[in-house]
Symmetry: C2
Subunit: 214 residues, 2 copies
Amino acid sequence: MSVDPVDPADSAARPAAAAAGSTSLRERKKARTRAAIQRHALRLFQEQGYDQTTVEQIAEAAEVSQSTLFRYFPTKEDTVLADEYDPVIVAAFHAQPAELSPTTALRQAIRDVFASISDTDRELIRQRQLLALRVPQLRAASLLHVEQTIQVIAQAVAERTGREADDLAVRTYAGAMMGAWIAAMFHWAAQPGSEDIFRTMDEAMAHLEDGLPL
Amino acid sequence: MSVDPVDPADSAARPAAAAAGSTSLRERKKARTRAAIQRHALRLFQEQGYDQTTVEQIAEAAEVSQSTLFRYFPTKEDTVLADEYDPVIVAAFHAQPAELSPTTALRQAIRDVFASISDTDRELIRQRQLLALRVPQLRAASLLHVEQTIQVIAQAVAERTGREADDLAVRTYAGAMMGAWIAAMFHWAAQPGSEDIFRTMDEAMAHLEDGLPL
DNA sequence: CAGTCAATTGATAGTAACCCCCATAATATT
DNA sequence: AATATTATGGGGGTTACTATCAATTGACTG
């Protein structure tokens, strides 16, 4: 979502570690600033609540001006929502072998991507998702992308089945897939522990694969 | 959504017609004010775009103060989004005979409700939905209710099948239904003419009933 | 039908998210 | 080292929304 051409290596808090190779000083500084904003935003939201946290506080904590903060993130919501994994999943989806059913391909794509994420990043995602699902304003902003998601899934389904992407049947199918996904996420976020997001997702995808038996 | 205990008879522009029976003067005035705000908001949004319209303009057009406008609608978005039909569909859903499958029951519920709506109200709904789907901010606000919708469907599905409403399988199923619905709406809104929302919806529901064949 | 009570309204002041613009400072290039 | 480029901070402005309070309007009673 809101795909920036910036740092996929994101996990912060390693000031001395001297970021990997080829990037210029400028790039490194930007990445650090960006990560600092995200980190402090997440922390403050968790500590005091989303509405109770002002962007001024976030800016102050990250030691930048508000102007700068808004240059990095177009809205307050994006400070926590900005996420580089959506296009990755899409790519993994496309990379699945053509003989798989669309549902199986999606399930596999999600597995592949999640498997490639480090534990610390995984924990970060977990915390972000929890916020994104529990704070109404963030929920709204996240859900904003469902149309795009449906479109992407429909496109991939169309390619696999030789139908048109704007066929109502294809879109309905894609919508159902995405709806199942979202429902699983909500289900996960509603649990008190909310530990195993990946298992929940995979279980839901398995249901989908089996044709949603009741 | 955002269920107010107010006027279901909504279509405005009948100042002389002396509203139906039992309501007090006060109630009638409130209903008229409410309708006026909605009507002018919709009109202005269509004429100048959502972002280009300020709530001040809406208030002015409806001849109320901003304070009053915000007493009737908690947010700018709600001036167009406030919608009394959601609970009606839920009721119709519950009222379907128990032997129907959940999907069939939902399809029938939608049919029943839509059949009961007058042509002028139907046209109003059409225009609102078009705005709600095409303006990002409105889309976000509309989508905010998907969690609630999933919950409601899951509840009804649970009652029909004797399972728990917070069962992941039930929720996934409910999510898929809702996703199919949403996809159909987007599909409809993306068409240039965007005439027959009810036929599109019903067709999508039929796909769902048939198990989403591709 | 006057008078009181409750509900509704409008005006005013304030907060917070964001935008635009320009001067300055930091990095990059030659 | 001089110059070009880009990032930053600050100031001023707009708009959605909130809180408060006084004034108005409709409802009800004797």
